[in-house]
Symmetry: D2
Amino acid sequence: MERSEESLFSVHTDLALEERESFPGDGGEIAGVEVHEWERKENGIRITEVIIKDAQGAEKMRKPVGAYLTLEAPELADRDEDYHREVAEELASQICRIFERHGIMAGSASILTVGLGNPDATPDSLGPLVLERLQMTRHLNLEYGKDFCAKKKYPVLSGITPGVMAQTGMETAEIIRGVVSETDPDAVLVIDALAARSVHRLGVTIQLSDTGIYPGSGVGNHRGSMTEEEFGVPVFAIGVPTVVGAAAIVKDTVDAMIGTLKREKATAGYGDSIEAMDPDEQYELIRELLEPQFGPMYVTPHNIDERVENLSYTISEAIHAALFRETVRAGEKA
Amino acid sequence: MERSEESLFSVHTDLALEERESFPGDGGEIAGVEVHEWERKENGIRITEVIIKDAQGAEKMRKPVGAYLTLEAPELADRDEDYHREVAEELASQICRIFERHGIMAGSASILTVGLGNPDATPDSLGPLVLERLQMTRHLNLEYGKDFCAKKKYPVLSGITPGVMAQTGMETAEIIRGVVSETDPDAVLVIDALAARSVHRLGVTIQLSDTGIYPGSGVGNHRGSMTEEEFGVPVFAIGVPTVVGAAAIVKDTVDAMIGTLKREKATAGYGDSIEAMDPDEQYELIRELLEPQFGPMYVTPHNIDERVENLSYTISEAIHAALFRETVRAGEKA
Amino acid sequence: MERSEESLFSVHTDLALEERESFPGDGGEIAGVEVHEWERKENGIRITEVIIKDAQGAEKMRKPVGAYLTLEAPELADRDEDYHREVAEELASQICRIFERHGIMAGSASILTVGLGNPDATPDSLGPLVLERLQMTRHLNLEYGKDFCAKKKYPVLSGITPGVMAQTGMETAEIIRGVVSETDPDAVLVIDALAARSVHRLGVTIQLSDTGIYPGSGVGNHRGSMTEEEFGVPVFAIGVPTVVGAAAIVKDTVDAMIGTLKREKATAGYGDSIEAMDPDEQYELIRELLEPQFGPMYVTPHNIDERVENLSYTISEAIHAALFRETVRAGEKA
Amino acid sequence: MERSEESLFSVHTDLALEERESFPGDGGEIAGVEVHEWERKENGIRITEVIIKDAQGAEKMRKPVGAYLTLEAPELADRDEDYHREVAEELASQICRIFERHGIMAGSASILTVGLGNPDATPDSLGPLVLERLQMTRHLNLEYGKDFCAKKKYPVLSGITPGVMAQTGMETAEIIRGVVSETDPDAVLVIDALAARSVHRLGVTIQLSDTGIYPGSGVGNHRGSMTEEEFGVPVFAIGVPTVVGAAAIVKDTVDAMIGTLKREKATAGYGDSIEAMDPDEQYELIRELLEPQFGPMYVTPHNIDERVENLSYTISEAIHAALFRETVRAGEKA
């Protein structure tokens, strides 16, 4: 979750799901974008797959071409270990499925995992925490012979927690590109904390995508991208929103107030005033309030440390289940 | 910074300075409240002392009777070590002064320091981080004879990081009361992260008070209070705001928008609509937006880990300077 | 594991089991000491109970009167989660049993847990790590009414990680005594890293006792003791050896060499030379080698971080199983 | 400090100084090895430079050709900040000097720093702790234009904490080689915890070398080497011994006892017995005692956390002084 400061004052979301919801008439068709939704009755997990098929869809969605799968599991906010395990199983199946589409066999491929984010900033520490929990195996091939993992039916798993640019003086993409070219994995799997637009998604939504990571606004600026184009192997990402930009919160509130006023008061004029306000003016106002000399502000839940800790367990279990257990298979999915 | 959830949706501030600013006609007199302000020309540090003199002032200010000293040092946001040292010196002088008023001699007293907050949640880790940096001495008396510190001209310094209630199952006040009654210090000095109302104060304002700590709204509920009344010795507190309640941000923005609309459009009616909205309705709207099923939200700067780290250095240096160095004396202050 | 420096050069062990083994003719009777041993066939866990019955036994064993139960589970060194769970179940049963003997009902009593040791020094961080994993409940009574835990059939669990004397300036015993007198638990349960005499016991032996904690050599010096006598409630302790004093290692090697020489060479005189060496001379020699100006040395395994991490899981699971699950009952034990 | 297990039972040292001392007649000449020694009178810092000039010297010293500079500063064991600063200044001068010999200008070169070791194991966390304290600058060139550092007279500093093989599944050398080839620094500077032979050197000796890092015994096995040959740029290393192999301690004690016996008793036969013991037999005995099923053992001081913390400050200050301050110049050195 390292992005250019500019993007923070726009009402940015890392979730394809939220981007799509922002279109007027939510349920409608968007050219170049396909959407599938289903729900697991047994546990209430809701899955949405947004597929951006072409350049037209990419431009509209402000996200690159590819698949974005979202698991929504509201009860993740609670501590129930069994429920976390069910979500992990679901995520494991989806990891197998998305890997398979790119010709990666989850159980035997060599995967480089990357824990993006700042281990010292709680909401940004999800990636590093997941990496701490993963059981690496690639070094066993170095120590006990290059077929060791294959014989044991282990995947060839490696991982790195690169830190953020202020800590390393390097773009994360530079570090990962170097490690990829040295260690030659079949795929890269990035774990990262995301920014959402709605506080209701914080910590209860998991996004799985196959499009790589684009710091900043997503399209255009290629510096720092971690993509198949850059690395030569598919780049998958698992992300969970842990913060909302403060500007998004404010904008949503103002919009809601306008909506309420409009609904409640028939009188023309009421409620139009702010809406009528020049967007630039609105932006300037919010900027003054939310951008002190020391940079952008984030909104995060009060118990974020506990939630990130729990989610790191869920995600690491999912990755282990997808890669290590032979019994979990993509085919299980309808 | 452990407080009841209710208080988080009110537009609460832990800063006496901000409470006072909220009165209409900012500069005016408030019965029972005295205010002094001055500025250090050499470094631009602005000092405000709010003294709540009696019950009348306490009720108005929603804070207990006592002295609240605020240092505002906007450049604290930058990393300059020399500036941090100047702020530490200023804070050291003020610590000596406020101690002296209560008959505590900074250089020789026995002081129990308390690092409040959750070490695992970055914005709430200020207290624990300061405690990590403090050089304790009380045990030297236990090891080398009870006059050891006196002979060395050391203060008798001890400290504890109690953790938060979910981690301990105990009120912090229970733990500290027990430790005070066992170890019998002359005074307690609490270090804590605070909630402010304005993002512009985050990380650049230090409050020093002699009134103890009241979890929650401050007045009324005595459970969990850490005060002279409870402990039998003066309780001082050093606090730095590191978060703003999300509700405060939203309320400020809406207020600012109304203000702007009123100023800019002469037409009556414009801008009044939201203002006219029932406060309960406003509250309900904000609540819906900001209170997902998992509790209250906070706003915090993007680089909060760095800022809390730097501030913990500044505050620990100030405490060391106040207690250890003979050359820093309360008398130096004008 | 905070003890006076002197004790470190003696060949000290915190394990009653090892103390007893040090008597000549290992299997023999010691007046005032009772020993029971059994083994769980299903998992190879070996249990030894050393009961020091009176002052005579205490003097001989250099440990206070009480029960010392030791679980030896060599496979704890490996990472198998299932095995760790079996050990946790066994330990849970023994916790229930030892509690019961003191009239403490594991499922409903109010227990204060204490994580002794230095969280910043890996081999000494076992206690703090266990505390991080425990699920406290006592605060639920404060928040939701004083019968909340009873209704839910929860124990009333609280806990503290006091830190070590150099970090707090206080004796750990002072802090705990204060907390006990404020929060009034039925019993105290201390978790601590121990020093053993043999490297073969590091990380694979768990000692459970009902005699409290005596810093230093155990008998004589009462400063800093955490005992029923001091606190007014029973003090149980769970300890795992994570270090061996360097002096113990050296002494054992020299003894072994002498033994080997004696066995292998029939010639009188051979091998007697070192044995004949004045013990004071031996001590002086070891001291010179092992006591640089900066204090005593410890021996610890290379992967101590991983082992302490795994053990903290096992012990926290055992405590949870003993206190929370109604199905685990002392009666299950033969 | 990641090395093959075999090397741990040999009496290995990472210090060229100690390797040289192990030769009989300590002061004598070794073909292919040059030694210079001097002492700073003002602060008692003793500096020894061991230069291995050719293959003959390398074979004898079991270390590669190159320069090994050792600073011995016994008072580093104490906490005096001023003394740490003096040592940092001395180390800074030596860094500048050794850089200069390889044509690297400390103030303007682009340097990749590497914090080797395991951040979760206290004695092995020196490298990661130093990296946490370093102020990176290379990203400023990426953000503000590629001459930014040059204009500000900053070095181009970057850094990475790669973790150990069990955490990453990769050889550290693979990660660094990848990062070097992507980011193209002028030199690599590795910071690592070392193993010494004598406990008296723990934490009070700093070794600076220009030969790179060879895991394991140093010569022969090239897998995992971090050297100029491998990376194409000079590889410097700063190391501080924080552990002694348990086997080294035992061997030293036994040797000392034999020596004492020989000196003290004129009688032939006394003291010869152990010396006469077959080295293989000795090894087997030590192995049995020190190698439980779970691997090699280390000796480390009781307050290792504090010492590593203080040393990380000293070394990071030295690196900052060497690279950032124009006033510290190699020329200052006699």
